[in-house]
């Protein structure tokens, strides 16, 4: 594994929207952001400012980079896939071509690539698949056998099934309601796929619960899990300490680390899944600097 450096180069640019299209439940936007496009690696993300001059929403919104095209008619472009869930994402999906959005990126650490050509399984939950196609191409360029598992609640919440078939050696689809592919969860099919392919690495991006079970399954099959997490972020650039989660370091000790600079990609077995509950992450008692009983 060759981890990307912690503090890679980053840029801030006012990006023009040149295309936006509906894909199932999501909106797929293409932004002209040559600086980001040139620097980005799969697994990194961008942080977008929301609203114009009169905006009362100050914090940026983070999105995985789906694809970059470092050069082209318009200069380099960056693509993202957005699920409109709140005021900020609603504003973003309402942008029309020629509108501009302020973009900071690329941010965070990319997916580490295996140094040898091991088989890999890529698991995407909902829009979590967005960064995986680019990753798949890079892995296949290195000679890896790549299979993909796409899971979602329902068909409209799957992203990129067609693209997956193009860019991977095998694709399995699951939906909770059975509206597409196999009915069930990705965790139902993953053990069989790891077993069949002899995968050495399982990459995952999606809801936290899914990433936890991917990690357990990978471990049980002797594979390494690399998961891209999604924590609420105020800054995205490492200065606010809001996006932390408990992760075990090289020294075996747990620390509350920033998922925006030390993640969003973590080795699954390093994440303290036991500390997560209902969208909250506790500070484990054995974490460095954890509050002592009766103390802070």
């Amino acid at each position: 594994m060759s981890p990307a450096p912690l503090r890679a180069r980053v840029t801030q640019e006012v990006a023009e929207v040149i295309a936006t299209k509906r894909v199932g439940a999501y909106q797929h936007l293409t932004l002209v952001a040559p600086g980001v496009a040139e620097l980005a690696r799969p697994g990194q993300f961008v942080a977008l400012a929301v609203g114009g001059e009169t905006s009362g929403t100050l914090l940026r919104r983070s999105f995985s980079i789906h694809k970059v095209s470092p050069s082209g008619t318009y200069g380099g472009t960056v693509e993202i896939v957005v699920s409109a869930v709140g005021a900020g994402t609603r504003w973003i999906v309402e942008r029309v071509p020629h509108d501009t959005i302020d973009v900071v990126g690329p941010l965070g650490k990319a997916f580490p690539l295996p140094t040898e050509a091991v088989p890999c399984v890529l698991v995407g939950g909902g829009y979590g698949s967005a960064p995986l196609f680019w990753l798949a191409s890079e892995l296949r360029e290195r000679g890896c056998h790549v299979e993909m598992v796409l899971g979602a609640a329902s068909e409209d919440r799957l992203f990129g099934v067609v693209e997956a078939r193009r860019s991977c050696d095998g694709v399995t689809v699951t939906t909770d309601d059975g509206s597409a592919g196999q009915q069930g969860w990705v965790s139902d099919v993953l053990p069989g796929i790891i077993g069949r392919t002899g995968a050495g690495v399982v990459y995952g991006c999606g809801p936290m619960g899914m990433l936890g079970s991917i990690t357990r399954i990978a471990e049980a099959h002797g594979a390494v899990a690399q998961v891209a997490v999604e924590e609420a972020m105020a800054c995205g650039v490492g200065v606010c300490m809001t996006c932390v989660m408990p992760v075990v370091g090289g020294d075996g000790r747990t620390r509350m680390v920033r998922s925006c600079v030390e993640g969003p990609v973590f080795r699954g077995d390093r994440v303290r899944w036991d500390a997560f509950d209902g969208g909250r992450a506790r500070v484990p008692d054995d974490a460095v600097g954890a509050p002592k009983v009766g103390g802070h």
Partner: protein, 335 residues
């Protein structure tokens, strides 16, 4: 036309002529009055990717305590209209790691540093200050900011900054640990009935300056789960929405200085600054330097952008020196 806004455009004067330098005490000449705000800029490396941190008047570091701290569980933030709530819980590496790692790095890039220190007891503050003073990169330090908005372990967790006596004790002990050419700034909380009383107590105890304001105590409820949104239940409110409170606090304390009720010391203004115009409000109210906090989350290069905008606005208004604008809205010329 009777309006609240004068929309007259001022003739644009060449701005290169505005002298932005300021001396906040101890003979350290800062090239300009712009600073980061503690806890909104980490300890320098992250923002150095966006601009040269040595271009700031000073870099204010995250409040550091004696020992490493994990901080609180998540969620640690909630967005609010024109602002946010945070409850980080003073996560940090502890003063030993700070002086071994962060301060030397800031020194190496030529930054002027205003370290922010914190504690759960007045002796913890003193210990942190002493360790700082003994550090090899202490040369980079141009002053120390004392974050007194910490729960006082000895007094049922009552925040030091809410009590004039407790605030004074912390300031006096920290002052003792530091050489005279290192000004000590007490950072005040707005969550008090009379901020001038706390300001007076701090200055009397030896504070060479004041930083105003820290966050307001706020809270948000997750109405889907019907429970407090933040892991820490309450949190600190910051951002443009609180700017009017910061301007008022700076104004009141500067006014008390003009009236001789508090000895005159420099005030560092902080709270809701997003643009040069916002900074100018605090300056006109009486601030001799400006920190940019939450706005950095919106725009990582906000501190240097605000500096450029402030410089231009001062030029347009015919100011030759930044310091001439300090307190100008009190109608008394220079403080």
């Amino acid at each position: 036309m009777t309006t609240t806004h004068d929309t007259t455009r001022h003739p644009v004067a060449p701005t290169a002529t505005v002298d932005m330098a300021v001396d906040l005490g101890g003979g350290h000449r800062l090239p300009n009055p712009l600073m980061t705000a503690s806890g909104c800029a980490a300890n320098g490396r992250e923002l150095h990717r966006f601009f040269d941190v040595a271009d700031l008047g000073a870099f204010v570091t995250k409040s550091v305590m004696a020992d490493p701290r994990s901080g609180r569980g998540t969620p640690r933030m909630a967005e609010t209209p024109s602002g946010m709530l945070n409850s980080i819980g003073l996560q940090g590496p502890g003063i030993a790691a700070f002086v071994d790692d962060d301060l030397p790095w800031l020194h190496s890039v030529g930054a002027r540093v205003l370290p922010s220190i914190a504690g759960g007891s007045s002796t913890e503050y003193a210990h942190v200050a002493a360790t700082l003073r003994a550090s090899r990169a202490f040369d980079a330090v141009i002053g120390v900011e004392v974050n007194i908005s910490c729960p006082n372990v000895a007094n049922r967790g009552l925040v030091f900054a809410c009590d004039p006596m407790a605030s004074a004790k912390v300031v006096a002990l920290v002052r003792e640990q530091l050489p005279r050419n290192i000004p000590v700034f007490a950072k005040l909380s707005p969550d008090v009935t009379d901020i001038t009383a706390i300001a007076a107590a701090c200055v009397k105890a030896g504070a060479d300056g004041l930083t105003m304001i820290n966050t307001l105590l706020g809270m948000s409820i997750d109405t889907d789960r019907m429970q407090p949104h933040l892991g820490g239940v309450t949190g600190g409110l910051s951002g443009p929405g609180i700017r009017p409170v910061a301007v008022r606090a700076v104004w009141q304390v500067r006014q008390a200085m003009f009236e001789g009720r508090i000895p005159t010391v420099p005030i560092i203004g902080v709270g809701g600054v997003r643009t040069g115009r916002d900074a100018l409000e605090l300056v006109a109210a009486g601030a001799s330097a400006i920190q940019v906090g939450t706005a950095v989350f919106n725009d990582p290069s906000a501190p240097v952008r605000v500096l450029a905008e402030l410089t231009e606005l001062l030029g347009e208004r015919g100011y030759a020196r930044f310091t001439d604008a300090v307190g100008a809205a009190h109608g008394r010329g220079r403080p």
